[in-house]
Amino acid sequence: MHAAHKNHDFEPKIAAFVCTWCTYAGADLAGTSRMQYPPNVRVLKFPCTGRIDPVFILRAFQKGADGVLVSGCHPGDCHYMAGNFHARRRFAAFRQLLDFVGVDLNRLQFSWVSAAEGGKWVEVVTGLTERVRSMGPMREFKELELEEQWSGKVDTPELQEAYEAIS
């Protein structure tokens, strides 16, 4: 089994932001059906794609992801009725922004995987992994991170003070 793996000299890291009702369950189904796919994906579970803030995607790229997958319920099937519609609208705008700042959009994929689509989960993850592998590591944001050394937290004393002043 190592053979297949050894052929590659780059193993991309894929962050998958998924909703718990559809895609997480779909990935579970791939497991119970013993389907096989590359081990590069790390799943982060959310109640709904509606909860996924575009900032998470930027942050994931910055923190070492070479590819990001966002996946939720099919339109009309959202457990929360409309969360995925809001997500879709939000991400449509966000993609353009990413494009503008120079991120190759091939590193970012949006998909719909239902709880019944174990096979589709495998397809999507495998496809994205292979594509990102062929693109090589994502460097731009990581370098930025090293330069700035920003902790990502907003709890500096200055900010705290500013907040206190508000109310």
Partner: protein, 665 residues
């Protein structure tokens, strides 16, 4: 949390076969915030749970990660175990290293590395978890049943018999649904009216049931245990309290030529009418579109002849609001029509069958009315075109069903059985007649079902032809049926007197609109979706809403009644408690930061965000902020991702928790 315990499960060999669990535990022990890590063969077993509890006490743990199967499998188990030691259940999380790792990878090195990463992510998350308090809400012990077919009737009676109040809302002037239209029912051939009407009367007389007929759901608000439902009672033009059901108005109404929909337009009815003689309630309604008085202001006969002066032309629609704890949806089905469909519909009509223009090509429900003793022909099988008794009848199964090219790929489930029934009813009434059936295959699973079908062939001499019909056309007074018999590989042509199509069972028109009001999901055919295909067949994913009958998918009466009773049992389980506990995954507004833009209010699919006024001690308004009603919030988190000032946060999925996980990628 700074003293986290990590428990790595072997799951027998399900995990340990591909993941080196000991190494995962060793790596976990070195993670920030982790105070203890171990591995065990079966964490979910009794000894496994004891081990967890003991470790929490001994090592003074304040957070738990169980690296095992999917949280969808055992999250509840481990949270309960953690809670038993006095820990807050929401600081216990699962790292899914089975479904998402050991089962989907073969390489031990890679799988182990991934498992360590998964544990790392979850440990980072648990470090930022907060202790959440379960939310309790009171339960209103009053059920709403939508739809008064056999499903709704059964559910309403069961719940009411258990001593709870029920509000039954039916769109038509009478309850009964499709079953009231049937002649005799498979597999026992008992008369549908005879078994149905007593139940309808029980509903009307039950002290616990409030019946709203000729009514529709206008608006649904609230949540499990606490719904507010507004019902529109359409103007009947007859005062139900005064009407005695004598029927004089119907007899005297001069406007008698209106096609009777209950009889599939074969007979006629007056403008003031009850849909059928056994209607419940037995109070007429005026069909205002066809009433002379409403059209021209002349007539008014019914008001004049009505003894108790029940007719009231000025009646208006009335809105009533009901407080409800649980909802059973039982709105049933529609039958597919072979007529051409509007361009935007994915479902096609049947041009090859004449698009419904050949008078002696009818559907199964029309045949039921012909065969019914209370039908337009008094139970004689007479064809619509000339009223003659048909001697050769062709039945065609799967019209619209299992026909991907027509837009429907599912099996309608009931047609094989009712077609067999139709051939029998026909033979019982026309002894020298011959029935032919075109079928793809006979699907007769069910108690005594296959025996029933065999009887149609062996005793009632129905000729079953395995094959499809490609065309129907009128020739003189015959309908020519051109089909194929694939078992012998020949073309067949039959000159029939009557053709009966077993058309597909479809979702109700407007099922999607009702679903949106209720906040429940539906499939691509607009059938309502159950929460789990196997284990939650009557629950909707939306808490407190249950499904019964054909609104969820094609069903016969036994299945419908079983599901209705199951839905009723679920409602009773809910009503057994005075207070409900729900997961505290709800959004919370930080009022200090809220900029009052109300972007959250616009996106919230539950309408959970309210505008809250903040006043000083003197009562002067200082400002208005957003506020989330935790009872209504569904917990999707859309508001949080939308809020430009980051002032609303979803408990359990805070930015801090998510960022910590991303950091640990």
């Amino acid at each position: 949390m700074s003293r986290i315990g990590v428990f790595v499960c072997h799951c027998g060999e399900n995990i340990s076969r591909t993941v080196d669990v000991e190494r995962v535990a060793q790596a976990a022990a070195r993670l920030p915030g982790v105070a203890y890590a171990t591995d065990y063969k079966y964490m979910c077993s009794d000894p496994g749970q004891s081990l967890l509890k003991k470790a929490i006490a001994e090592h003074n743990l304040d957070g738990v990660v169980v690296a095992a199967c999917s949280p969808r499998m055992h999250e509840k188990t481990f949270r309960k175990a953690a809670e038993a030691t006095g820990l807050n259940p929401f600081v216990c999380e699962m790292a899914n290293i089975r479904e998402h790792c050991s089962w989907v990878h073969e390489d031990r090195e890679e799988a182990t590395a991934k498992a360590i990463d998964i544990v790392k992510l979850m440990a980072a998350r648990v470090r930022r978890n907060r202790r959440l308090a379960a939310i309790t809400v009171p339960v209103t012990k009053r059920a709403l049943v939508i739809g008064g077919g056999i499903a709704g009737i059964q559910a309403a009676l069961d719940i009411a018999d258990a001593g709870h109040e029920v509000v039954l809302v039916e769109r038509e002037p009478s309850i009964g649904g499709h079953m009231a239209q049937l002649s005799e029912t498979f597999p026992t051939l008992d008369c549908s009216q005879c078994i149905m009407t007593p139940k309808m009367v029980d509903v009307a007389n039950h002290p616990k049931i409030t019946l709203h007929t000729y009514s529709e759901i206008e608006e649904v608000g609230g949540y499990i245990g606490n719904f507010q439902v507004t019902v529109r009672k359409k103007a009947r033009s007859v005062d139900m309290a005064k009407c005695t059901g004598c029927g004089v108005c119907m007899a005297k109404c001069p406007q008698k030529k209106i096609p009777n929909a209950f009889d599939k337009d074969m007979g006629t009815r007056p403008a003031i009418y009850v849909p059928f003689p056994q209607a419940v309630p037995n109070t007429p309604v005026i069909d205002r579109e066809n009433c002379t008085y409403f059209k021209s202001g002349k007539c008014g006969v019914c008001a004049k002849v009505c003894g108790p002066c029940a007719v009231d032309y000025t009646q208006q629609d009335e809105l009533v609001t009901e407080q409800i704890g649980a909802i059973v949806v039982a709105t049933g089905f529609d039958l597919y029509s072979i007529e051409p469909k509007p361009a935007d519909s994915p479902i096609q009509g049947y041009g090859e069958f004449g698009y419904g223009t050949i008078p002696d090509v009818i559907d199964g429900m029309t045949f039921e009315r012909l065969a019914s003793a209370s039908g337009p022909t008094g139970g004689k099988i007479l064809r619509p075109s000339d009223g003659k008794e048909p001697k050769e009848v062709v039945f065609i199964q799967c019209v619209g069903s299992r026909a991907r090219e027509k837009g429907i790929s599912y099996c309608s489930k009931i047609c094989c059985m009712y077609t067999a029934k139709h051939t029998m009813l026909y033979k019982h009434k026309v002894h020298d007649g011959q029935a032919y059936v075109f079928f793809m295959d006979a699907r007769t699973p069910g108690k005594n079902y296959d025996e029933f079908w065999r009887r149609a062939i062996e005793e009632e001499e129905a000729v079953y032809i395995r094959g499809m019909v490609s065309r129907l056309y009128q020739k003189g007074d015959k309908v020519v049926v051109m089909g194929s018999d694939i078992s012998v590989g020949i073309q067949v042509e039959i000159e029939a007197d009557l053709v009966v199509l077993a058309t597909a069972v479809q979702a109700r028109k407007g099922a999607d609109t009702l679903a949106q009001k209720l906040g429940i999901s539906y499939d691509k055919y607009n059938f309502y979706s159950e929460a789990h295909a196997k284990l939650k067949p009557v629950e909707c994913a939306t808490a407190g809403i249950y499904l019964a009958g054909a609104c969820q998918g094609p069903k016969d009466i036994p299945d419908t009644v079983s599901q209705a009773s199951a839905a009723a049992a679920k409602v009773m389980t809910l009503f057994a408690k005075d207070q409900l506990e729900r997961e505290p995954i709800v959004a919370r507004v930080n009022e200090r930061f809220c900029a009052a833009c109300f972007a959250c209010k616009k996106v919230c699919p539950y309408g959970a965000v309210e505008e809250k006024e903040i006043r000083d001690r003197q009562g002067n308004l200082i400002r208005v902020v957003a506020s989330v009603n935790p009872g209504v919030c569904g917990g999707c988190g859309t508001c949080q991702a939308t809020c430009p000032s980051k002032s609303v946060e979803l408990d359990g999925y805070t930015d801090e928790q998510v960022m910590a996980m991303i950091e640990a990628l």
